[in-house]
């Protein structure tokens, strides 16, 4: 099985600070994982953990002042350091992205159908009518009833769920090898969320697309993902098959995150909390970034932990608990 996305030691730093006191915010730090074609890989973490920055780095959407090191290969082609022209060639073609807010990712003045057709014509040599035909087929595929009726509608005439379907149709227009979905359902109600997730699930099977699904919601992860990566303060702390992650969370942060969900332990008076705050990423942090809040901290944590394999899981921790959930 070939990897549609392979990250190796990907790091992203944002220059910041005042003149005479330059600093670098280390937003992503040495992240490595692969996503196979036809697989949904969930990337979960809290705000500021670097999950969206990671996605933007892969798509080449970060400002030019950003310092990116390491490697990101999409369908066996390196994408870090590509020229603008090469990035444009990649975006919407081999790799496509779906953002959280469908109402701002569509041009409000354009008919929605034309926006899909536009994406097709940008990468394929087809006539206008062929592009329109393909767009209509895509609209049917993402479950819009009456596509020819909807084709000429402006985005504001559609509901939030329909708009997100249009965005997904546009993303899939050129059969990308990789689809990155950044919080695609966060703005939607639960019933719509379930529908959109089912749609993404169905499409990746039909097109054999690799999906990188970025979310803060462990429920979304549980619903559709095959494997999961957990990020904390820019570092990937655990990668595991989804069932394994929920049944046997290994990293102390993963455990804390799972325990903090309401309903995690039924009938519990109080929810488990994580003491302390996420560290300031513009400061130099040696070793494991979770150490300052970790109940299992030992001296070795001052050195960045190596990833170790435990069954199907890979965990970056020096002091792994043995056995199941505490």
């Amino acid at each position: 099985m070939t990897a549609s996305l392979a990250l190796d030691g990907l790091s992203v730093g944002f220059p910041t600070g005042a003149l005479g006191d330059p600093r670098i915010v280390s937003a992503v730090d040495g992240v490595s994982f692969t996503v196979a074609s036809g697989e949904i890989f969930g990337l979960v973490g809290e705000s500021g953990c670097g999950k969206s920055t990671l996605a933007n780095a892969i798509m080449g959407l970060l400002p030019t002042s950003t310092i990116i090191t390491g490697s990101a290969r999409v369908h066996d082609a390196e994408v870090i350091g590509l020229s603008d022209a090469a990035l444009r060639q990649m975006r919407g073609n081999t790799a496509a992205m779906v953002f959280q807010d469908a109402s701002t990712s569509l041009d409000p003045t354009w008919p929605v159908g034309d926006q899909i057709a536009e994406t097709i014509r940008a990468h394929q040599s087809v006539t206008r009518s062929e592009a329109k035909e393909k767009a209509l087929a895509l609209m049917t595929e993402v479950g819009l009833t009456d596509p020819s009726e909807r084709y000429g509608d402006a985005p504001h005439r559609l509901s939030g769920g329909m708009r997100q379907r249009i965005v997904i149709a546009a993303a899939l227009a050129n059969n990308p090898k990789l689809l990155i979905a950044d919080e695609p359902t966060t703005a939607l109600d639960v019933t719509l969320q379930a529908q959109i997730l089912q749609l993404i699930d169905r499409l990746r099977v039909a097109h054999n697309t690799a999906v990188l699904l970025i979310t803060h919601d462990l429920g979304v992860i549980a619903q559709v993902c095959d494997r999961v990566g957990v990020m904390y303060a820019g570092q990937l702390v655990e990668v595991a098959p989804v069932a394994e992650l929920f049944a046997n969370p290994r990293h102390p942060y993963t455990r804390a995150l799972l325990a903090a969900r309401p309903g995690a332990q039924s009938g519990a008076e109080r929810l488990a909390v994580i003491p302390g705050q996420v560290p300031d990423l513009s400061e130099e942090i040696a070793g494991c970034r979770f150490a300052s809040r970790c109940p299992r901290r030992i001296d070795a944590c001052a050195v960045t932990p190596a990833r170790v394999s435990l069954g199907d899981s890979e965990v970056a921790c020096w002091n792994l608990p043995t056995g199941g959930t505490e």
Binding site: S47, V190, A264
Partner: protein, 268 residues
């Protein structure tokens, strides 16, 4: 025992654009009735457009219903005198969703907490300062943070400040509109714990408006399910969640993401 809050036949309609002769209307609330006893927490659940936020605004007397009545401690909100309304405002306090928008960016967070005390001229200046320190302590914040500006605090800390501000006048009812939905899971857990503590220690009643059923389950004694402006189901939380009667409640429960993975055969 009489209820602390009695809502009866509450109806509210908004004009939703269109020319005057063909104006379209949104029925935000239609004939909503329920009662809440002192010290209990009611979870109001619904999706966007269900009218749950309009209900919250009516309960805070920020919005006037077109029909129906809200009785707080036996007194009808619609017929309150000026001083009666002031008294109501002191006893019913809001907590809002967005910890970034619910504090004046130009005010120190301590001043925001003190606002209600200043408005109602409760105690001397010194008493108020003392009370603000107590309130910060009460919600688990270091009182020294009172001098800081909102932008210097994290989202979770701001929401604690918002709760401290709501507690300043020792209210009997708190109306909280999505107070944890903008927060990360681990921060959300801290705020939900705080709400549990307040329920237990202060006996304050709460209307907790949210779209998140797992939050409601954790925090509420009673649940009201809203759909398109109507209250479709009301009852004890355990009862409603275990045996939902209305089809909409059932579909809502079915759509909730699972707590553990549902996929038995991962795709290869």
């Amino acid at each position: 025992m009489t209820a602390l809050l009695e809502v009866d036949g509450l109806t509210k309609t908004f004009a939703a654009g269109g020319p005057p002769w063909r104006r379209r209307f949104v029925h935000a609330l239609t004939e909503v009735s329920f009662a809440l006893e002192a010290g209990r927490t009611l979870g109001v659940v619904g999706e966007s457009g269900s009218g749950k936020s309009t209900l919250g605004r009516c309960l805070l007397a920020l919005s006037t219903p077109d029909a129906g009545s809200i009785r707080f401690d036996g007194a009808d909100l619609g017929s309150l005198s000026r001083s009666g309304l002031a008294d109501f405002r002191r006893r019913v306090q809001p907590v809002f969703q967005d910890p970034y928008a619910s504090l004046d960016p130009r005010w120190s967070v301590g001043r925001s907490v003190r606002e209600a005390l200043d408005v109602f001229r409760i105690g001397s200046t010194l008493d108020r300062e003392q009370r603000v320190r107590e309130l910060f302590d009460r919600v688990g914040l270091n009182p020294e943070l009172a001098e800081r500006m909102p932008r210097q605090l994290s989202g979770g800390q701001r929401q604690r400040v918002g709760i401290a501000a709501a507690l300043a006048t020792e209210p009997q009812l708190i109306v909280a509109d999505e107070p944890v939905s903008a927060l990360d899971v681990s921060v959300q857990a801290q705020i939900l714990n705080l709400f549990r503590d307040l329920q237990r220690d202060l006996g304050v009643a709460a209307v907790f408006i949210t779209h998140d059923l797992s939050v409601v389950e954790h925090i509420s004694h009673d649940i009201a399910v809203m759909h398109l402006g109507r209250l479709v189901e009301f009852g004890r939380a355990s009862e409603v969640l275990a045996r939902p009667q209305h089809p909409y409640t059932r579909s809502l429960l079915a759509a909730v993401p699972p707590a553990i993975p549902t996929r038995t055969h991962p795709h290869n």
